[in-house]
Amino acid sequence: MIYNIPPLLLLALLLCGRKSYAWMIATALVIAIGALVVNVSDFDSNWNEFLLAQMGVFVLMIVGSMLRQTESGAWRLFFRARLHGTTDFSHGELLELLGFSSRFRRTVMNVAVIICLLTAYAAVMVDFIESGGSNAASTITLLDETPPPGYGTLDNSGMGELPGTVSADTPATSVAAPTYFRDSSLRFPRVLLPVFWPLLVGLVVAQFLLRIQDASWFRALPISELKRSPVEFPSYFWFLPVLAILMTWSEVIIAWLVTFG
């Protein structure tokens, strides 16, 4: 059932693309596709508290930044538009609201990126300390996802030792396996969820929610006045895939730096 909805909505959007209510179909399409994509993910509920705290900080930072950057008149316009729409707005008020809306989106995306980078930095530091790269004796863990000190060391004391005298007639017996076998791949990616969650939420808030207002609020404005800064999606977002690669390889890079540094 869920697989049939996006194609139907896409068809409806292509047929009714020039209608004034097209943005509603578009919103439904985006939400349906987002739900379909998220549906394939089944996230661990252990992260809830951490993610809620992140969201709290997210909201506080956005509100604080917006209060500092904007005047109270712009906020009044925003709430007026939220309650009654913009049909009775003058041209000047619409332009002021447009600036406020644009700044709001930019703030949301910037805050999302800042929280993402801070979490990534914390995760890298925790990983660095726990992996023995630092002399600091630490009990820091990131939501218990980082194994305690000692977990990561390979116990190879039993290697090379064979049980008793070996001859051709000795029956084969199993050698005791090391207590822990370190798989470096299993630790770090687990923290990717809290690292990238703020970005995903920022993207959803900035693109899915605020855009809805744009479509209905600013229909009265001509295209030339809808030019806003920045028009494009923040370019620095393309640093983040590189960040992911660096995080994936962080252990090797840090080990190399410690060895040769």
Binding site: P6, L9, L10, L13, G17, A22, W23, I25, A26, T27, L29, V30, I33, G34, L36, V37, V38, V40, S41, D42, F43, D183, S185, L186, P189, R190, L192, F196, W197, L199, L200, L203, Q207, F208, R211, D214, A215, W217, R219, L221, I223, S224, L226, V231, E232, F233, S235, Y236, F237, W238, L240, P241, V242, I245, L246, T248, W249, E251, V252, I253
Partner: protein
């Protein structure tokens, strides 16, 4: 051209190194997300106020040959919005993919996770490049192949493709169990950044000089 080279080299590295993903489900997720990405981009585009107006993006491209300066500006504005929508869909794809890959069930069954993760996170960017090229091609066909349209490639996406190319070269040269591969990838990304930034600066300088001389 760079994007085609990246795409071809990606498949070459995957095939020649006999790389596989841990789970067929992951391939299904990748295929689904790749198919859904343009749909989401279209949805995001129509949610924008800029998508309104008397003429659609395609209609404006069709009139580009005899368009006035204002119509060309409107076309450029709509194209940037369409590209931004595509990028937003690409970012959603990429972030979701990272979260999906981070799930334990995809990790425990593999012993070459780092390669898989590095290979997988490249896919959204390459899909995005392909879709952007398709969009430009459609607009070009609509406008007429000889008509010049006011559209440019995104600097950062081009740089990222260049970095991907460097990473693929490293992955092809080094075996995956080599201890130096992590640092080599890091160095490749940095080197690609420096080379690309230098090239972009020289190109921009030359362009500005040409314009200055003509003026």
């Amino acid at each position: 051209m760079l994007r085609i080279v990246v795409l071809i080299f990606y498949f070459y590295v995957v095939i020649s190194n006999e790389m596989t993903f841990a789970d067929d489900d992951l391939l299904f997720v990748l295929a689904m997300m790749s198919l859904l990405m343009p749909g989401m981009a279209i949805g995001l585009y129509y949610m924008r106020a800029e998508s309104g107006g008397n003429n659609s993006l395609l209609q404006l491209a069709g009139k580009a040959k005899e368009a006035s300066a204002e119509e060309l500006a409107e076309f450029k504005q709509k194209y940037l919005v369409a590209r931004e929508s595509l990028y937003a869909a690409g970012m959603f794809f990429w972030l979701s993919l990272v979260l999906v890959i981070a799930k334990e069930r995809y990790l425990v069954s593999s012993n070459n996770l780092d390669y898989q993760l590095t290979l997988a996170v490249m896919i959204p960017a390459m899909c995005l490049s392909v879709y952007e090229d398709v969009l430009q091609l459609v607009l070009k066909i609509k406008a007429g192949m000889r008509t010049s349209l006011p559209i440019e490639y995104d600097l950062w996406l081009s740089w990222f493709n260049f970095s991907i190319l460097g990473t693929l070269v490293v992955m092809h040269v080094f075996p995956y169990y080599d201890s130096a591969v992590g640092f080599a990838i890091f160095s490749a990304v940095v080197l690609a950044s420096i080379l690309y930034a230098t090239g972009a600066y020289i190109s921009r300088y030359r362009k500005a000089r040409e314009i200055g001389e003509k003026a």
